[in-house]
Amino acid sequence: MSRHERWAAVAVGLMVVAGAAIFLYAPTDYLQGPVQRIFYLHVSSAIAAYGCFTVVLIGGLVYLRRESLVADRFARAGAVVGVVFTTVTLVMGMLWAKPIWGTYWTWDARLTSTLVLWMIYAGYLLVRRLADPGRQAARIAAVVGIFGFVDVPVVHFSVTWWRTQHPGPVVVNDALPPEMLATFLLTMACTLVLAAVLIAIRYRIETLSDERMHLAEEVKVITAPEPRMAP
């Protein structure tokens, strides 16, 4: 059991605790009924996703500043974990919207900017895979990561502003009763731990595959037709 596997076990344990709180401890919402329990993980994974993309942003900025491979690896790790959490957020959001608003999708600011977030960082992962590995991929991915991070609040703002131009049904979410708030805070904390563990694991994977990429070459070069030790 490597230390990463131990951390993973801890994270899973915490999520089980959060799950128990969500389904057993938290009261049922009198207005929306049991489906309201989607809220806990839906919002927690959105926050975790934003956290991951902050890691991508900082990794990108540090890489552009000092070309440190460590920063680039964190950015790579943060991006892929962030996309996973954004996917969870989107799907749960739609599954929650259907029973409440009758449609899977409404162009409200949060959902729209989360969708844009997903597309930008899916594009980030694609750019990273298509560019030649090494400095070029890291540099342009850093720029994409930074622009992506800036674009999300801008999209969120412009869609909210669009709402003011077209007054429509507004989703009122009133303050949470204490038990719900406690469950939410617990779920959020556990989700953030899971995100951190996932990033640590992905970081380790990136480090090893970087080394493996160079390690593989050393073997190839030494066995080149003209071995170094020729008399």
Binding site: V35, I38, L41, V91, W96, L194, L208
Partner: protein, 39 residues
């Protein structure tokens, strides 16, 4: 009610699957093949 179940089943499947897949990939990379090279 079913939406609630489907939502959480999906979340557990995706997050769990991603965690499992990453751990397996990690085990591969740290496994015998790479340490053999570092002899």
């Amino acid at each position: 009610m079913t939406y609630l179940i489907v939502a959480y089943v999906f979340a557990v499947a995706l997050l769990g699957g991603f965690l499992g897949w990453s751990l397996r990939r990690l085990r591969e990379l740290e496994g015998p093949t790479s340490s053999g090279l570092r002899r």
